[in-house]
Amino acid sequence: MRKLWLILIGMSLTFSAVFAVDATLKIEKDVEQRARIALVDGSSVQNSKAFDLFVSDLKISGHFLPDKKHYKGDIKTNFILPALKSQEYVLKYVMTHTSGSKLLVRLFKASDGTQVFKKSYALGGTAKMPFLVHKAVSDVNAILHYPDISWINRYIVYATYTRPGQSEVRLADYTFTYRKTIIRGGLNLFPKWADAKQRSVYYTSYREALPTLYKLDIYSGAKSKVVSSEGMLVCSDVSKDGSKMLLTMAPNGQADIYELSLATKAKKRVTKFKGIDVNGRYVNNEQQVLFVSNRLGYANVFKKSLNSAATSQVVYHGHNNNACDANGEKIVYASRESNNAFGGNTFNLYLTASNSSDTRPITTTGANQFPRFSTDGSVVFFLKQQGRGTSVGYINLSSFQSLLFPFNGNKIQSIDW
């Protein structure tokens, strides 16, 4: 009888070990939860670029499972090809590029051809064509009452080195299919959106003797000086209402985090440490600041209240966590996981929270850096270096759908979304 008990206990332990599931490491949402959708291109000149954009947008939304076959067909009818009846939706579209870009989309229920949505979009030029597709997909997503994905309509602003001592500040759509230089030449770095509507950017200019922060209206070109500092000056984060910002400044040669009130121009020193404190991010309703510091002898992520001196360690993993981003309570950070002095280092991204010690990896290979949350915190942007290739990556944190777009260009210095 005792033997029987031992066998039973042994079997149950074996089964629990074999079939245990770590919920925090679940990396693939059940595909059945996403709506199957096929694309039918009715354009007179079929365009694989537009089709690829549709597929990427639908995929990264986390709400659709797009058929990757590029079907051609007439948009004028609601006839659904028999082969597509197994889908839930069929999205028919026509893209034209005569006198600007125009896009017409019609969404049908695949089962009976009922039209669910119809809309046309137009833009003056052809360069911004990707935004037409992004807007259409975010509208389709909204009409089906899925959680908002309007982040795909936003500009990305980034600085890239062009040659020693020279850089450019550029705009891009999230796939980097659209790119435009808004500040050419000079040494202008660390661009940061100044407002939720993406009308202005802050950036650090090295045009004068000291690093100087400017605000640029990207539509009118109006430029104003905000502040300058000896040593270094970076606008790391802007409050939701745009009235305050977190700066990394070094007026005395020490890189510390300051909060600047734009109304009064009053500066408050948030960190006071003799080493390196950088990368400030507002967290917990802008009552606390997340930042990277080498106060333990290596770069790691900490947080502190804006109104008290107490500082606490946020990350208890890795020995070189030198970049982070925050959205609400979510935190993403980059961790260097090898220690080669000259290249070939592995950097992975980890997701944690300001109110939890749970940490999970969201990348596993290559050098993954510059993590940035989407405005709603549902998606993480990052730059992936693997071998000789650089890609722009996105991970949907709900569905764990990931996308990589090849990035052919000079080295990115800094990025904001």
Partner: protein, 166 residues
């Protein structure tokens, strides 16, 4: 026979239902759906304001650092001695520029460059050079002396440059 009739009727009905919707014309009344990104953005030219130099000038010598470090290495003592001597006869403010190799990210690399500049400034202050006569700026990895992927090149980029402010 009845079965065949039903099938044909159903097919005809399906065919007609497919044609029932008239095709919408492109450029209809709701062409402004993409308003959010219709505005034209500016393009500013600042090509004449780049940092045109990336090594020490005005009689100063660059100070080099080990990977990831910001302490002045003993092998740089002679260089520092020469720089301090040059600084004593300087008739203008001295600019101390911290630089890094490309193996850093974002803000942290700029802070590392600044720590290197501060190490040089502190060493000069300790030898009697007035702090008010020096200004520090970190250029992070933005101003490499060379760009080849070699150890020798990376060594040359982890440096502090010095020059007179003109």
């Amino acid at each position: 026979m009845t079965h065949k009739l039903w099938m044909i009727s159903t097919l005809i009905a399906l065919l007609f239902s497919g044609c029932a919707q008239t095709a919408p014309a492109l450029g209809g009344s709701n062409v402004n759906g993409a308003n959010a990104i219709t505005g034209e953005t500016v393009s500013i030219d600042e090509t004449s304001y780049g940092n045109g130099y990336n090594s020490s000038t005005d009689g100063f010598n660059s100070v080099y650092f080990n990977f990831g470090e910001y302490a002045i290495a003993p092998k740089m003592e002679a260089t520092m001695k020469a720089n301090i001597q040059r600084a004593t006869s300087a008739n203008a403010k001295i600019k101390i520029e911290g630089n890094c190799d490309e193996f850093g990210t974002d803000e942290y690399n700029y802070a590392l460059g600044l720590k290197r500049a501060k190490a040089v400034k502190d060493a000069m202050v300790a030898q009697g050079i007035a702090s008010a006569n020096m200004v520090m700026v970190s250029f992070g990895e933005s101003s490499p002396v060379c760009t080849e992927p070699s150890d020798g090149c990376y060594d040359r980029n982890r440096r502090v440059d010095m020059r007179l402010v003109k």
